[in-house]
Amino acid sequence: MSMPTDGGRLLRYVDALREGIAQEMERDPRVFLFGLDVDDHKGIQGSTLGLLDQFGPERVFGTPMSEDAMTGVAIGAAMAGLRPIHVHIRMDFLLLCMNQLINIAAKAHSMYGGAVRVPLVVRSMIGKSWGQGAQHSQALYSMFMHVPGLKVVAPSNANDAKGCMIAAIRDDNPVIFVEHRLLYPTQAVVPESSYTVEFGRARVCARGKDITLVGVSNMVVECLRARELLLDAGIEAEVIDPISLAPLDSTTVLESALRTRRLLVADNTWTNCGASAEILARVAESGGVEAGVRMARIGFAATTCPPSPPLENEFYPNPAKIASAAYALVRGNNDDWAPDPERAALSYQLQFRGPF
């Protein structure tokens, strides 16, 4: 992973998000932040803490529980020249915003012949931890990938989180900003200065010759752990982080897959009609089939997420499952290799303690 080091220091993902927002609000008085509970004592798990004191209640304010109208207000304010950041603590709640996001935000620039722009950032959290259950666990970004006019970004580390946030705020289009909550405490080297991470450019996080692993958001971390497990079996995996899902850099994935001849996409959500389906389809129709690339994907079990621990463990992908699926792609399904379970756990997930 290439990380700028000038002025860099280790920073948590959650703090990098806040720093990026604060720097943009400082730079541009048109930027404002709102959403349910952005101004309370918890501050969206810390990602908005202190911003009210710094920028005042006109630019940082909580809202009624009216996601539909608040999204419309954000869109109208954006059309009128402001640059709103609308925060939702769960991506599940974006279902209450779909009419505004899809019928107006995504289409306004086109259906009004370029007369308006919608510079809007919609932040929402996804992801597991324990017990999130049916309606606090969903990562619905593929629904937004489907619609022309929206951008979708899902950074996997603190450095990208800050750079993508600043890029999203400066973008003149609606950006769906997806944050996996288990990434919040993870640290990376983050420059103190302002910088952007370009959308539509995937990053090769680790080189390898035997298989290409593509991870979305938190799955990048899980793919990197799976890569270590696979090394025990003598398999060198290349790991790619698309960073943004719309626009999607499938070229970098294709180039890697043509080299490794195997491609496994690990997603944070269901595989049906998902980001994993789109990535594989693009590789398949761009030469992957002719080149004989073996392809597979892994994601949530095709069922509703249960909170009961053994069922929940079965529901989610994890590094061991990714490693096993990768092994099968490389070596075939003839032997039942499984990674060392002690090494398969992710350290930051072991640290997680409730209550949530």
């Binding site: 009624p64 999204t71 869109i75 086109s110 009004y112 370029g114 007369a115």
Partner: protein, 318 residues
């Protein structure tokens, strides 16, 4: 209600007449398939748009419904750009990418219209939020139909507008039908203004669709809004003379009948205000309106189609 001097009456009549005749021309052309965009005509409802928009300042905003031709023209929207948009031509107000239900005219502060009922209500409030922050006393007049008041987002919007004292004038055009469903099948009670008032928003019903009364009440509300009083609400009863969508009438299909129409025709703003003018003055206005519409239709007929290479333009703003 103040007495209106003759120049004001002429201006109001001109606006009413322009909308009425433009839409009658749309209805005439529509069966030729030159306008390939579903049209929702405001014929019979012009007084609401004209009364409200005449009370607005040029730098105020208006947010029309999908039945948007009347508010678009009443706020000063370009007639040629509207006809070109209906024809799908490149010179349309949305470059042929919007159509009848998505008129926009930001050079006259006309916010883009939406085909999904109620959707523009909070969007207009977003503009109002920006105008409040700007602090120049500008207002958004946002139009909605009686059907939109049944959407949850309407109540979310009333609450937020009142909570933040936004400079917004809600204008409900109550024409008693959502497509073909009458109010009696949709509203538990007809006490819309009472519902709105519980949000702390002054709400006024104007039952007779008198353009001067609408204008006066709108002006009164706008003065308070500009002074920082927060939003106000007008429920303007009106009547849609034509079918929900399309150019024709629909009094023979059982859901309504012509007896219901007649009292509205008797108090029609275009006819009654026209009759009150000096006949010579009226004739001059009528002739000018006819010439303007004819020129707009001719321009739309002659205008260029969008280049097919433009299909992928405007997906994202650069």
């Amino acid at each position: 209600m103040p007495a209106y001097p003759a120049p004001d009456l002429v201006r109001l009549y001109r606006a009413l007449r322009l909308i009425r005749r433009s839409e009658e021309e749309i209805a005439r052309i529509y069966p030729t398939d030159k306008i390939k965009s579903p049209v929702h005509l405001s014929i019979g409802q012009e007084a609401v748009s004209v009364g409200v928009c005449d009370a607005l300042r040029a730098d105020d905003f208006v947010s029309p419904t999908y039945r948007c031709h009347a508010a678009y023209l009443a706020k000063g929207g370009d007639l040629k750009a509207m006809f070109a948009e209906l024809y799908g031509k490149a010179s349309g107000c949305a470059r042929g990418r919007g159509g009848s239900m998505h008129m926009i005219g930001l050079d006259h502060n006309i916010i883009g219209a939406s085909a999904v009922v109620g959707t523009t209500v909070p969007v207009a409030l977003g503009y109002a939020l920006a105008l409040k922050r700007e602090g120049k006393g500008r207002v958004v007049a946002l139009f909605l139909g009686d059907g939109a008041t049944e959407e949850g987002v309407f109540y979310e919007s009333l609450n937020f507008a009142s909570l933040h004292r936004l400079p917004a004038l809600f204008v409900c055009e109550n024409n008693f039908y959502a497509i073909h469903a009458p109010l009696a099948k949709r509203w538990a009670t007809a006490r819309l203004c009472e519902r709105v008032a519980t949000f702390g928003i002054p709400a006024h019903m104007i039952p007779q669709s008198d353009v001067l009364e609408i204008r006066s009440k709108a002006a009164e509300c706008l003065e308070a809004i500009r002074a920082g009083a927060g939003p106000a609400f007008l429920e303007c009863h009106t009547y849609r003379w034509r079918e929900h969508v399309g150019p024709g009438e629909d009094y023979d299909f059982g859901y309504r009948n012509r007896d219901e129409l007649r009292p509205w025709q008797d108090k029609d703003a275009v006819s009654t205000l026209g009759a009150s003018l000096d006949p010579g003055e009226r004739a001059r206005v009528d002739a000018a309106v006819e010439a303007e519409i004819a020129a707009a239709i001719e321009a739309a007929e002659q205008a260029e189609w969008p280049d097919t290479r433009e299909l992928h333009n405007y997906v994202y703003a650069d």
